[in-house]
Amino acid sequence: MAGAVTIAARRARQWRSLPDLLERQSVLGVVLVSGAILYMLALVGYPFALALYLSVSDANVATSGLGNFVGFDNFVSLFQSSVFLTALRNTLFFTLIAAVFKSFLGTTLAFLLAENLPGTRVFRLIILLPWTIPIALSSITWKWMFDSQYSIINWIGTHLGIIHGNPPIWLGDPNLAAASIIIVNIWRGFPFAAIILLAGLTSIPQDILDAAKMDGANGLVRFRKVIVPMIAPVLFIGGLYDLVFSLTDMTVVNLLTNGGPANTTHVLASYAFLVGVQSGALGRGAAIAVLLLPILLIVIILVLRSLKRREI
């Protein structure tokens, strides 16, 4: 009885002073997360809403206001622009091709690293370089490697007997320039694919793999029917992270080809930068960037679906 009274009294007291109030989990929790919430609302939430607004406005870098509402004019004119349509196609095409190669290279590499032979740590450090080096710095290095006259890739190719006759001018031909962008994307992403897969692989208990082996499942069957379903959540998040990067990155294109030759290699991100910042048409630029959203959404749903199907 007396205990109950003390608890009630203590509870009443908790409401009185600020330090006591902060001892309540519901209050302290909200206080501690408020910084993060406010920051993200101000600098992600608000700009996000602003991007949606800009995409239906004629806002310009030069003018200080937010421009006038122009309805869907930006979108209509974009879909009539051949550069935009090329950029849209490139975004999807580059991402898809690169993803196929990254999955293959990443998977084989993950199994090699999983053997964990002596020296694996040194290999790992070197193999991770493409992922860990700042992307702008590696992109400019690739531009030098694809140089029209002094390309080290052409030199190696010629001396290995892969390239015959006149060496290709990588960044001067629309198809080769597109290939160059895809190559850099693959080079940058395959170590990450491997590391994500490796993290999943090492989390699978060995006895499950042994059991599958005893049941007569060969390597490929074990991979498809046991390993992939077990690490599906990891694959999903890793894949998503990589897809978001591939679909939205403008660094590689901007530094390698800057959309050239003749605007054939733009992706949505680099085109949004060209239109929004370099030409100063914020509204049109924002419209291009906003169109990334439905693409991201579709991709996310597709990835989720394909992984779900595998789980069944």
């Binding site: 330090p19 501690l32 997360v33 992600v44 290999f123 370089l129 700042p134 490697m145 994500i196």
Partner: protein, 292 residues
Amino acid sequence: MATVAAAPHLPQPRSTRLLRKRILVYSGLTLYAVLAGLPVYWMLITTFKADRDLYNLQNFPLWFNQAATLDHLNLLFNKTGFTGWLVNTLIVAVAVVAITLVVAVPAGYAMARLRFPGAETLSIGIFLTYLVPTTLLFLPLVKVIASVGLFDKLGSLIIAYPTFTIPFCTWLMAGFFRTLPQEIEEAAMVDGCSRIGAIPRVVLPLSIAGMLTVAIFAFTLSMQDFIYALSFVSSSDQKVVTIGVVTELIRGDVFFWGSLMAGALLAGVPVAILYSFFLDYFVKGITGGAVK
């Protein structure tokens, strides 16, 4: 080289199958290492190669055919703003790390330990902000940054980078706090400490490793940015090193490849190595506990 490293560990008679497998694994790893490392090797060679040697493919280009030179480094340090860009990078890094720690550590603690209304929604919301690409935000942020008077100033990057470091580091810290036993605070609280008192006295001292990891990531993730730095800053003396190197060592059509590669090497490789030592935490952070 790879097979030599394997030799001492080989079991004696047992099987050539094992040996074959090892050779296969090492040759595979070597192939991948060459693919991954070639651009970085080429950076290194270019940095120290005299121009006459560099622009002559009659010789074997992958090694020095004339004496190595420090000319490119000399140009980089004495005739460009490189040291200034390094200082700018350091200022941005320190400020971004500070903001990230101040915001993400309390938020991570709350998500890991406290039950409060909206906690679930919040953790999903934080995850979703990962998926909002910088490509979508850079144009409206140009407006936001101009309106607070930070356009073309280092400050623009200091306020923009936490938008991607905070969500990531909050998740990372939440994961870290979950690994600390709950009894730590409970014991302190039984001893008469309030929770507010227990956090700085017993929780934070045990979280130094976690906070260090967060600091490293806030720094390395900031170094990966290109689009914000390119969009918000154009004055040479306000540039960070990544953007300075790729924009200021090109005059018209002339690329100063030696100095460009020197800058890329000096700015990129230390960051890359630092990052790779903490990469496992990064993987844990983005998979958010999906990996054990």
